[in-house]
């Protein structure tokens, strides 16, 4: 789930940082620049792990800040394919689930990768939509609850549950130059997951199962 990534960067150090020791000043500037940001193909930056080397400190003509060449390690969040992660439900609609792990919210489980057989119950109209059927109204905006149908019982996927899912894909979409006003905010890193296997889904399902066996 976490990796160290070694990066080299030319960093201009603003004069306001000169009062601090050079290493501390650069560390603070790196944190300001990279923390909680996504670097394409590397993942989400969690923290600056350490600084390996600091070179330079030249002041270029017309520039009021010295520029240092810094080699440092970042702690990156980048789950690998087939990794099992625990998360919580953020939202649920006819297209599938959106999960969160607190520091990262762009985790999507498409309806096709939910435990089968399943059905979706809309919150507003309480209208059932089975996985094989297409609903007549616009599906993307409808909120509701997904249920796994097993042994003539319905197992809901609710927002109180801790959910286990398997990572199927991590993608880094290109920045859109233009976006429609009503489109959802751009996500620089997307994790796609699956819950269509034994032991996956809300943890409560499987604990309940163990209790019954005993």
């Amino acid at each position: 789930m976490f990796y160290l990534s070694k990066i080299e960067h030319k960093l201009p150090l603003p004069p306001s940082r000169f009062v601090l020791p050079i290493r501390e000043a650069i560390h603070m500037e790196l944190e300001k620049l990279f923390l909680d940001k996504v670097i394409a193909n590397l993942g989400l930056c969690i923290s600056v792990y350490d600084i390996r080397s600091i070179d330079g400190g030249f002041i270029f003509p017309g520039d009021g800040a010295p520029t240092y060449t810094v080699v440092f390690n970042l702690i990156m969040f980048r789950p690998f394919e087939k990794e099992i992660i625990t998360a919580r439900l953020l939202s649920s609609d006819a297209d599938g689930l959106r999960l969160t792990i607190g520091f990262f919210d762009d985790i999507y489980i498409p309806a096709s990768r939910l435990p089968d057989p399943n059905h979706f119950v809309e919150t507003e109209q309480k209208k059932r939509v089975f996985s094989g059927q297409e609903s007549t109204t616009n599906s993307s905006s409808k909120k509701g609850v997904w249920y796994w149908d097993y042994n003539e019982q319905e197992y809901p996927i609710q927002d109180t549950d801790v959910i286990k899912f398997r990572v199927t894909n991590v993608s880094y979409p290109q920045i859109p130059v233009e976006q429609p006003k009503e489109s959802k905010p751009f996500a620089p890193m997307l994790i796609s997951g699956a819950m269509d296997d034994d032991g996956l889904g809300p943890v409560s399902w499987w604990f309940a199962d163990e209790d019954e066996d005993e």
Partner: protein, 91 residues
């Protein structure tokens, strides 16, 4: 359609543009893999567990979110001793 690239660069978590503008040079993407325990240990060493107010310690809010997630995992009850003990027992 509206032009939003400026707001995207400033408000969203994205550093792909940094490859050019900020001259980020990726020397080694997978320098090392870290376990949940190691990341939690690193955040604890920074002072994430010591400051209940979450304003005194030099830990960013985003780092606290990671800390909160890891505290709820098995990593929170592990120690270096217990891990070493496990490694020797499975040899």
């Amino acid at each position: 359609m509206t032009f939003q690239s400026q707001s995207i660069l400033t408000s969203f978590k994205w550093l792909d543009w940094a490859q050019n503008t900020l001259r980020v040079k990726n020397l080694e993407g997978n320098a090392s893999a870290l376990t949940n325990f190691e990341v939690l240990d690193f955040l604890r060493a920074k002072g994430a567990s010591k400051d209940p107010t979450r304003v005194i310690a030099k830990v960013a809010q985003s780092e606290y979110k990671v800390y909160d997630y890891l505290v709820d995992t098995a990593a929170s009850v592990q120690t270096r001793e217990s891990i070493n003990e496990f490694l020797t027992s499975v040899k």
